[in-house]
């Protein structure tokens, strides 16, 4: 039996699988399908200091092998999340990561400092890459200097480890990754959605009310693999990998690319049991490899120098 535990800053995980932010609400809905304690961790929907209404509908559209979303950071705001959602999650034996969004560094700091005081919040994830907010949000994720400063500021006020979630919509993701590492980030999450659009052939207008949205799902997995592969070789902080994971094999691919843990987003919609079945599948698949712990597979795609067969067992 391969050891499935992984240990990341702030996160002692039973297994390397968690739901991705925004695809799992605050856990309540999926708790009606299975025991959330089975998960490696839970990453909740983006929280902003104040309640946000988000974008008009339609907010989602299907695409070839993926989907677009433009939810627009709808959330009930910091105090409601703290008093209701995060307290509720305490009943489960699972580390919680709070995803944070905002328009200003101060927004991020306010939420980070507040939630990091809660006993079951194990880490925060700075969403500096949400493509669906107009003001500010996107610049944090595309400019290394701004990304670094934001990380530094949050680190000063946050008592739990800080993960920074990177945008794939950049020329050079490695430079952003290096910058936030220099800014003190304890880990990286990657990738957020690609910017995309669909046009309705009847109206001639974008399908999403917001115009463009974030592309997720199987379609983007090769982009995620390539970016995780590139970044993991250039930083020494761990990566939570995500982007198009639909099955255990996909999760493994991200791990071999360089991820220490894996988040599952869109696939929860197709299969509400996606996370537990990926956990089960991974536990099974990993037996093919000659390792004692799944953590040994992180980054194996670039750690091994030749085309040796990895599946020795």
């Amino acid at each position: 039996m391969t050891d499935m535990r992984v240990s990341l800053p702030g996160l002692e995980m039973k297994n390397p699988v968690m739901p991705a932010s925004g695809c799992f609400g605050f856990g309540k809905e999926y708790s009606e399908f299975y025991d959330l304690s089975r998960l490696g961790a839970i990453c909740v929907k983006a929280v902003t200091p104040e309640m946000r209404k988000g974008n008009p509908t339609p907010r989602v559209a299907e695409t070839g092998g993926g989907m677009l979303n433009a939810i627009g950071l709808q959330n009930p705001g910091l105090s409601h999340v703290m008093e209701d959602e995060l307290i509720w999650l305490q009943q489960f034996d699972v580390p919680v990561i709070v995803n944070i969004a905002g328009n200003t560094p101060d927004d991020y700091c306010r939420v980070a400092s507040a939630v990091s005081d809660l006993p079951n919040v194990s880490a925060v994830e700075l969403n500096i890459s949400c493509p669906n907010v107009k003001e500010g949000g996107i610049a944090f994720g595309t400019d290394p200097v701004i990304a670094r400063e934001l990380t530094e500021k949050v680190k000063q006020v946050c008592s739990v480890p800080v993960y920074v979630k990177l945008s794939p919509n950049v020329t050079d993701i490695v430079s952003i990754a290096r910058a936030v590492e220099a800014g003190g980030a304890d880990g990286l999450s990657m990738i957020n959605t690609l910017l995309g659009m669909r046009i309705d052939l009847n109206t001639g207008r974008p399908v999403l009310a917001n115009g463009s949205g974030g592309l997720s799902g199987a379609a983007i997995k090769p982009v995620a693999v390539r970016m995780i592969h590139a970044v993991s070789q250039e930083v020494s902080i761990p990566i939570i990998g995500m982007g198009g994971v639909t099955c255990a094999e996909d999760a493994l691919e991200l791990i071999l690319a360089g991820a220490s843990a894996v988040a599952v987003g869109t696939q929860n919609f197709a299969d509400p049991f996606a996370c537990p079945s990926i956990i089960d599948g991974l536990t099974e698949t990993v037996k093919r490899y000659n390792v004692n712990a799944i953590s040994e597979l992180t980054g194996r795609s670039w750690r091994t120098s030749d085309r040796q067969i990895l599946t020795a067992r």
Binding site: C23, P58, T63, G65, M67, N69, T266, N268, P272
Partner: protein, 255 residues
Amino acid sequence: MKRIERMKILKNRPIASRIYELELEGDLVKEMKSPGQFVHLKAADGLDTTLRRPISICHIDREAGTFTMLYRTEGKGTQLLSRRQAGERLDVLGPLGTGFPVEGFSHQTRCLLIGGGIGVPPLYELARQLTARGHKVTTVIGFRSAEDVFYEDAFRELGYVYVATEDGSRGTKGFVTDVIDRHISEWDRYFTCGPRPMLRAVEARLGPDGWVSLEERMGCGVGACLACVCDEKNGSGYRKVCTDGPVFRAEEVVV
């Protein structure tokens, strides 16, 4: 715990222009109670559909352990669905959402059911449950043309039925609201499902004392992704169509 089931397809056959009747068998039927609830279907395995498709429950046969849906082929998902064959299994998540109320009405309430196009199906189970409880059901259903009409006879077994078609090829020429204007004066509660413009026209005429069933593009179908919101009438918030709805009190949401 909620679950999904690979239910057995008993029947999947066209009954009107682009309209299919799909009958499924399985354990999930035991949990289906409220008319107006829906199921979230995986139309096909593989990459052709990333998302499930929401389809209303049209008729629950708890004794037989089956239920029926009616769907119209629109895009990729419903087209793939129409190719599925009896005997195959279909991946079903549900029943989901909050349906129409059937309890708490006074004796022999006069219920007015108004459906348009592919909004008609959930009204059928509603009509059955209301009549079973002794209420009086009058149904007004609107379609584009005669070849689009379905379930007229089925509704007739449960009460009085008016049909409207836009081109007048069957029933009253015009919209359901034309039927209402001309023929309907006495009713206690109304229940409506159909395209937004129809819902708006109905609400404008009949006021807030009714229930409307809304459609919205969905992601998860279970309340987690916030794709499917609609505006609250009084208040700054949103309601989720997939869990708070699809049926709302007319006064509650902006149609």
